[in-house]
Amino acid sequence: MTTVTSEIAQAPRAAQMARFARLRRLEQWRYVLLLLPALVFLIAFYGYPVAAMLTRSFSEPGWGLQNFEPLLQARSALDAFGLSIPMNAYIRVFGITLQIALIVTVFTLLLGYPVAYALSSVSPARANLLMILVLIPFWTSILVRSYAWMVLLGQEGIINQALIATGVLAAPMQLLNTRLAVYTGMIHILLPFMILPLYAVMRGIDRNLLRAAGNLGAAPSAVFLRIFLPLSLPGVAAGCLLVFILGLGFYITPALLGGQRDVMISMLIQQQISQLNWGFGAALALVLLLMALAIYLLFTRLLGVERVFGSARA
């Protein structure tokens, strides 16, 4: 150590500066060391398997793009926007997946926004108490909650029995294995993912801004529309992105609650792989991943990353 410092002291000024810069860069590498364990873990147990899996879309059964061909083989053509889009069962599954994810996102937003608003308006102590009501379902296994919906929605389920007992229905209604059941289950499961980011952003909104707007003559509805709503948009964006992308990959809930026509991509992937059709399964997974990435990029490009993940404070 002493030799290094004395060398530095004797070196000409320019060389000295360069040496200091090198030492400073070395210092920065220390922070990389802190990241290293997590990085190694992620690469070994996440990055590598995912990459290996996705590679199979090009390598099985032989090298090439043959796994993507079924996606482009048209059984019929969908004419939209003046274009003829090849249409087949696989494309239709992608369409259903996007539709379900979108509808679930819209409804979690409509249901979650008032809840988050209420949570952010009460005292922090009370909000923490109420938050438990949001978090208990969040901590319950998705499988358990999906089964719970089966119990509720089945032919012999509580809802049908209650409707028959009260004379609303003569015979049980088909509730389970419908698109409605998929929506209901997914909205229920994904709701906390909407409420939590919304709540975090809304908590950060200075209530004096609302008072200031009221003081300047804005009625409560105008205060909400012109001040609160715009300031809560980063939470809306974060919540929607989270719910939509999680919704795209949903598997257990649609598999248990959906009907034969409610097939989502993840179910298709599972089916292909269980038939040892690794190549095509991997191709579908790659397309799903690219779709999620494209939507993420579109979203952050439109709104700006700092608006989606940034804090509510200026």
Binding site: D206, N208, L209, R211, A212, A213, G214, N215, L216, G217, A218, A219, A222, R226, I227, P230, L231, R313, A314
Partner: protein, 361 residues
Amino acid sequence: MGISVRNLHKHYGTFRALDDVSVEVPDGSLTALLGPSGSGKSTLLRAIAGLEEPDSGEIVIGGELATGLPPQRRNVGFVFQHYAAFKHMTVRDNVGFGLRIRKRPKAEIRQRVDELLHLVQLDGFAERYPAQLSGGQRQRMALARALAVEPRVLLLDEPFGALDARVREELRDWLRRLHDEVHVTTVLVTHDQEEAMEVASRIVVMNHGRIEQVGTPAELYEHPATEFVMSFVGKVNRIGDAYIRPHEVVICHPDQEGCIPAVVERVITLGFDNRMELYLPDGERVWAQLTRDEVAQLQPVAGQTVGVDLSQSRRPGWEPGGYMSPRPAPAGVAAGAAATVIPMRAGEDDAQSWRARVGGR
């Protein structure tokens, strides 16, 4: 327009924030509500703006009963301590907010905003966002925003509290000049007596949810109605149960009639102002405010004995002239300081000759 507050009460649980408060704010005045935290001054201000609903009592603004009106219908300008800037809007949209709510024509809003930005010296900042402004600039923007709707009265809640000392000074001065230009009835809440005295033409001193005294800065300083006002407005020495302003402490010859001996502890120079800290024979401390010339003449040294004339002190009886009975001075003056004491002699009443004798100091 003037504000009348009549018998206002406000409780939070068992805490009395406002306890039967009645006060008149004359039209066009710049009034300060002064008091320590928890004195009810902010609650009173917020009640006037309608941001706080009083338990009972009336608020009349410009002859019109305001209690019961929602805040958006009171047409009262309010400026918050932490600016409450709408950070998703430009400075222009912030200032024009109240006018857009009132659906004024676009051209009119534009012109009015430009005028206001000029008034608060923010020309050229219209298209910036609040995050790109300094604290002082944000507060001036908030003031322009409040003034844009031509409020009947302007209420400022510790408006300079979040700013650093130098900017605070500047803005005080600026606010006073602004008030001279705009003449809107203004009520300012502050816990800083210097700020209140410097800015306001009338001060309402509050404590424990009650009004202690209302008057001009000079009235409060010269004729404090209560012990609290005496100790809160202006600097003061408390000796036993009597009070004396530091500038009323007269340094004199210890043997002189009405003078008590006191030992100089130290002298602090603050420029023109000087602070001489003394202790009296019974151990009580007192400080005297001296000018630069007075210090130059006395040349005081720590440990030296001088005389102090405390006849200007008063007890809470409140007209000046009430005075502290001089305690009997012990024979050897202050015990611990006896070795360094060089008292002035009788007849040696000018400090010059005394200094010459003491040793050229």
